[in-house]
Symmetry: C2
Subunit: 302 residues, 2 copies
């Protein structure tokens, strides 16, 4: 269907950014997003929306971009693609809350097309609790499964495992958090859906993002916390930094391909800590969390 061209998809992504930021401002209750608009010499640009020192969110960003230009040698090598001109648009989010009992969350939906006629979608949502509460992890995964199942019942099991593999820190042998879903290079053949349906799936994921996060915020935001729990939160943030800078393919690709550094690194927390060889006490909540940071754990039962 020709009406769902790249301009319409970019417009949908741009609207999604606004929709999510409005909802997140309500959830936060204190701070508003600041806009940082930028353009790219090679073509296109974006708006990075940043929230800081909020009632719930200490530092977070919701970024929209729609960029285009010639396919570089680096893109050919890293993405294994044909075509000479590309177009890419998407929304990506990372939120770092103050309260250690509220998880860090990440979301991304994106669309990519080439002038050889090929196109695909990608995306993911994953949750990084500082302290894993299994009932909350279940709620989050059930929410994702419900959205996936509306489009293709194979999506959740496939994309859940993909998230386990993607959001993994090899040098720590631990997952970044409780995972979620991740998908890349999703074509109409892979999805067995029309272009419109895949696009709607991405938009619906995005529209559900504030709902899914609000569930987590409501369950954590009134819980008191100690200095030790803040220190543990900061150590977990340190692992988040490690994943993003060492392992995240999107971040690495952005940095080496001369992307906009501040927008790419909006994912980093206001602060993070490292302590040499820190080992939590046996049977502590911290140790229980570490023990659950494994691939292949079913959060919604079997």
């Amino acid at each position: 269907m020709n009406h769902l061209n790249k301009e319409a998809i970019a417009e949908g992504m741009n609207s999604l950014q606004k929709y999510i930021c409005d909802r997140l401002e309500q959830i936060d209750g204190v701070s508003l997003f600041n806009n940082d608009e930028w353009s790219r010499a090679e073509g296109g640009g974006g708006v990075t929306k940043i929230i800081q020192n909020g009632g719930v969110i200490e530092k977070g960003g919701v970024a929209f971009s729609a960029v285009h230009g010639p396919v570089t040698e680096m893109m050919q090598k890293q993405m294994n693609i044909g075509g000479t001109e590309f177009f890419a648009t998407g929304v990506s989010i990372v939120l770092h809350p103050h309260n250690p009992h509220i998880p860090i969350i990440h979301m991304n939906v994106r669309y990519f097309e080439l002038n050889d006629g090929t196109f695909w979608f990608g995306g993911g949502i994953d949750l990084t609790p500082h302290f894993i509460v299994e009932s909350q992890a279940k709620l989050f995964h059930e929410g994702l499964k419900a959205i996936c199942d509306k489009y293709n019942v194979n999506f959740y099991p496939k994309f859940k495992n993909w998230a386990d593999d993607y959001f993994f820190i090899p040098h720590r042998n631990e997952t970044r958090g409780i995972g979620g879903i991740f998908f890349d290079h999703l074509t109409i053949e892979d999805a067995n859906l029309s272009k419109e349906e895949i696009f709607n799936f991405c938009i619906e994921l995005g529209q559900n993002f504030p709902i899914l996060y609000n569930q987590q915020v409501e369950l954590g935001k009134n819980l008191p916390f100690t200095e030790n729990e803040i220190q543990w939160r900061n150590l977990r943030r340190g692992r988040y930094v490690e994943f993003n800078l060492v392992n995240d393919r999107g971040t690495k690709f952005g940095l080496v391909s001369n992307g906009r550094t501040e927008s790419i690194l909006m994912s980093l927390p206001a602060n993070a800590s490292w302590e040499y060889n820190f080992q939590p006490e046996e049977n502590s909540k911290e140790k229980q969390t570490l023990n659950l940071l494994k691939k292949g754990h079913s959060w919604i039962g079997n």
Copy 2:
């Protein structure tokens, strides 16, 4: 000369670690190093010495290792080497002080040999002031030049430029600090020195490390500092984390080659901060520091 075999070099490196830690404990005046001994399944091991919450040093490490084993496919690819068995030994140091007026410092000296008979040395020392003071930068570079000149007058200019190129953060378009010296794959042909002389150069660099750092510590440790200066220190530490996790070839190689994660990441600070698109005020000390984080600056005059 056969007496300078790999065992003798490893012993020299091990003694250097002890020598430096003794001197650093005197400089710190409060904390002592803790030993973390480890061994490696494939062969060899090391001792990572960590100092925390000291009088001067907030977090620092001095690591010795001597490892050996089969040359892996990854090593062949990344290092472009022959031989089937390797031996590597060295000492590496990173110190993060409390006081923002004392610089972060890094040093590394290392020896590598293959069973095809080839061997080489590598190393470097570089300084990362949170606030650059040109007279202190001059003192540091003059100290390095004096050591280099004793061995080969080409070393300082060559290794100074190499450090500018190596300790560079492309995605920020800034150097990590004021540089220092860096060299890799230094053979007797490159150095026009005997194996003993290159080894002595490495050891002399190491023995001068506490002297060079003490000069910086003495000039900064009694200066008062503000909360804003602590926040700036933490933002600069953020850049240090970015360099080490994104750009430092040693760190990346260590992590992907299944090295000992805690020892590799001892280089990370106790805490670091990120603030979206932080811009220091014009003519501030912070802005003056940023303006000096450029390659090719001569710190000792022409």
